[in-house]
């Protein structure tokens, strides 16, 4: 249009800062990490030579040190995912539905309140929950003792299953506002005419939820689910600071295990291999979730309501919505990294 060949390359200058940064701080570390993982690489003295896939073999050979570190940490991390993802998805949806049905004036206030804790650091979250659930002198124990509901203090952060309970509560409190916000936004987008039509047909609240709301927020639900699983994979600060990975390493997460391998055992090579394995596992699980939800959508029969909605969309020639974007699998939750 206004482009001569010269201005074409002039335009390229604009992307140069980004490309340099991306090359130096993303692509190089990524490839370097693969290279390091194929070497006997010590944190202190550096490279001791090429060893092929030996680091990976070590990690995957039962009853070796690195196998135990990795598999134990993987098990714990999967445990945390199983414990934390359902409340993070379901309670956030419940909160969003609650906010959606509040009087208009109060919506913003409650949305802000439920989202507030998301702005603080994992350090602050951990400090607070460490002492709310402290064993000796913690606030909850003091309350329970005073109310004579328990006779001796509960070792919340040092005994299972309490240790997981505290970490899950802290995590839910910290990050649930993010998911809630995504659901609130999705609920706002549901066409009101669909509910009005259902009201005319005398549909119950449950039927409206099941046959209008759920299908309409389907995509965002998949997105919330996938990003929550990713975020829970990255468990680090909470279990480092609240339970110190205990009791008996039962809350030691993958990132903690990798950290120990690199800094505690001096094995940058093994640690890099573990990090790549963790990355691959995360991408595979994300892919499985994505394709499983895509397939189940295809198998579902088209619903009459869908047709109505499509018609509504076809005649709706409003301004382009800036929110209509393809999936981005990143979010602030990854800041734990």
């Amino acid at each position: 249009m206004h482009m001569s060949n010269r201005s074409k390359w002039f335009g390229f200058i604009f992307v140069v800062p980004f490309l340099i940064s991306f090359l130096v701080f993303w692509l190089t570390p990524l490839l370097y990490g693969v290279w390091i993982s194929l070497h006997d690489f010590r944190l202190s003295v550096g490279n001791n030579g090429f060893i092929g896939l030996k680091n990976y073999v070590d990690i995957l050979t039962p009853d070796t040190l690195y196998y135990n570190t990795f598999v134990n940490a993987l098990k714990n991390t999967l445990m945390f995912i199983v414990l934390s993802v359902p409340p993070l998805v379901l309670i956030s949806l419940a909160l969003a539905l609650l906010i959606e049905h509040l009087p208009k004036k109060l919506k913003t206030f409650f949305r802000t309140v439920f989202f507030l804790s998301y702005s603080i650091s994992v350090t602050a979250v951990s400090a607070i929950y460490l002492w709310l659930f402290g064993a000796n002198g913690g606030f909850i124990n003091n309350l329970l003792l005073k109310a004579k509901m328990i006779e001796a203090p509960i070792n919340w952060t040092g005994d299972q299953p309490y240790a997981w309970l505290v970490i899950v509560i802290a995590t839910v409190w910290w990050t649930i506002g993010f998911n809630m916000l995504l659901f609130v936004n999705a609920l706002d987008e549901v066409d009101g005419a669909l509910y009005e039509a259902a009201d005319l047909d005398g549909a119950s609240a449950w039927h409206k939820f099941r046959f209008i709301t759920l299908p309409e927020i389907r995509n965002i639900s998949i997105f919330v689910m996938i990003t929550t699983v990713i975020a829970s994979f990255n468990l680090y600060g909470q279990s480092l600071l609240i339970t110190r990975g205990g009791p008996a390493q039962s809350t030691t997460s993958l990132i903690m295990g990798i950290n120990t391998t690199v800094f505690g055992n001096n094995q940058l090579g093994v640690g890099s291999a573990m990090a790549l394995l963790m990355g691959i596992i995360m991408m595979v699980i994300t892919g499985v979730q994505y394709f499983a939800s895509y397939r189940s959508e295809k198998e579902e029969a088209p619903r009459p309501l869908e047709e109505k909605k499509r018609f509504k969309r076809a005649i709706n020639l409003g301004p382009t919505n800036v929110n209509q974007q393809p999936a981005a699998t990143t979010d602030k939750k990854e800041r734990e990294l």
Binding site: M1, M3, S7, K8, W9, F10, G11, F12, F14, V15, P17, F18, L19, F22, V24, F25, T28, P29, I36, L43, L98, H101, T112, F115, L116, S117, S119, I120, S121, V122, T123, S126, A127, I128, L130, W131, F139, W173, L181, E189, F223, N234, Y236, G237, L241, L254, G271, A275, L276, G279, T286, V322, P326, A328, T329, T330, D331, K332, R335, L337
Partner: protein, 276 residues
């Protein structure tokens, strides 16, 4: 009508109770920071019986192993420069990708999207070792520079520009404006909302980052607030809830204030990262 009113009273009550539950840990943090050590360990009530500023005095005192003032200065430097850098790099790149016919455009766009799907953990330790190799650990460089490699900002602004009408720019070109003039006088003003969103999200992400600063920082003088308070939590404050809450309040209040001030933009940022 009456039934509707009853329903909304019930819902507001439920929401209020939940709100109290959500706010409680923060309120407890603030009040505990004003309790004496012995009271903080024995207390089963929210409010201090005896108010004291001793905890704040102790974390700011020269003798303590806490370096609050230096950590605050570091955090200000790292977050402000880091955020400015991310905005600068991302706006230029997104503008060129959305509006200019540059060579390699498709490849760069592909990279931006693919990079979003790769878990951060795979670059973290090699990046740390690269900084170690060039002897830049324990400096501001690793605490500031790597954030600009993130592709989310490019992605957000690119999408925003794509949905933004081109007419204004074309009119400016017809009036004889240069590419740079169009960028500074037409594009910048119109993308302000999405840039503010990116700024707030990035600011809080850098402010609250924990794992990365813990890898690239050794000395106490180079820590950020988030990292410094974490060492207090693991160290001298471990047995002292009152002092721990005082340091946590100091580290948390700036983030909370920024969040409340920019709530609208932050909400938008989260919304924009979603799909339909």
């Amino acid at each position: 009508m009456r039934q509707k009113r009853t329903k909304s009273i019930i819902l507001v009550t439920v929401a209020s109770l939940l709100a109290v539950l959500f706010i409680f840990p923060l309120v407890w943090m603030v009040f505990t920071s004003f309790k004496t050590l012995s009271e903080s360990l024995a207390s089963a009530s929210l409010l201090p019986r005896e108010w004291t500023l001793a905890n704040y005095a102790s974390i700011f005192s020269a003798s303590a192993d806490s370096n609050m003032v230096q950590w605050t200065i570091n955090t200000a430097i790292v977050t402000l420069i880091g955020t400015a850098l991310v905005i600068f790099v991302d706006v230029l790149a997104a503008y060129a990708l959305a509006r200019l016919n540059i060579p390699g455009k498709k490849v760069i766009l592909g990279i931006v999207v693919v990079a979003l799907t790769v878990p951060g953990i795979v670059t973290l330790f090699p990046a740390f070792y690269l900084f170690k190799s060039v002897d830049l650990l324990d400096t501001y460089a690793p605490l500031i520079l790597p954030y600009s490699a993130g592709t989310l900002g490019v992605f957000l602004i690119y999408n925003f520009l794509r949905s933004f009408p081109k007419e204004l720019e074309e009119a400016a070109y017809l009036d004889g404006a240069s590419q740079w003039q169009v960028l500074t006088q037409v594009i910048f003003p119109s993308i302000k909302p999405v840039v503010t969103t990116l700024g707030v999200v990035t600011f809080l992400a850098i402010y609250n980052d924990f794992l990365w600063p813990s890898l690239v920082t050794n000395s106490d003088e180079m820590k950020t607030l988030t990292l410094g308070v974490a060492t207090l939590v693991q160290g001298s404050n471990f047995v002292n809830p009152a002092a721990m809450m005082a340091s946590t309040v100091v580290a948390t209040v700036p983030a909370l204030l920024i969040f409340l001030w920019a709530n609208k933009y932050f909400v938008k940022g989260v919304t924009n990262s979603g799909i339909k």
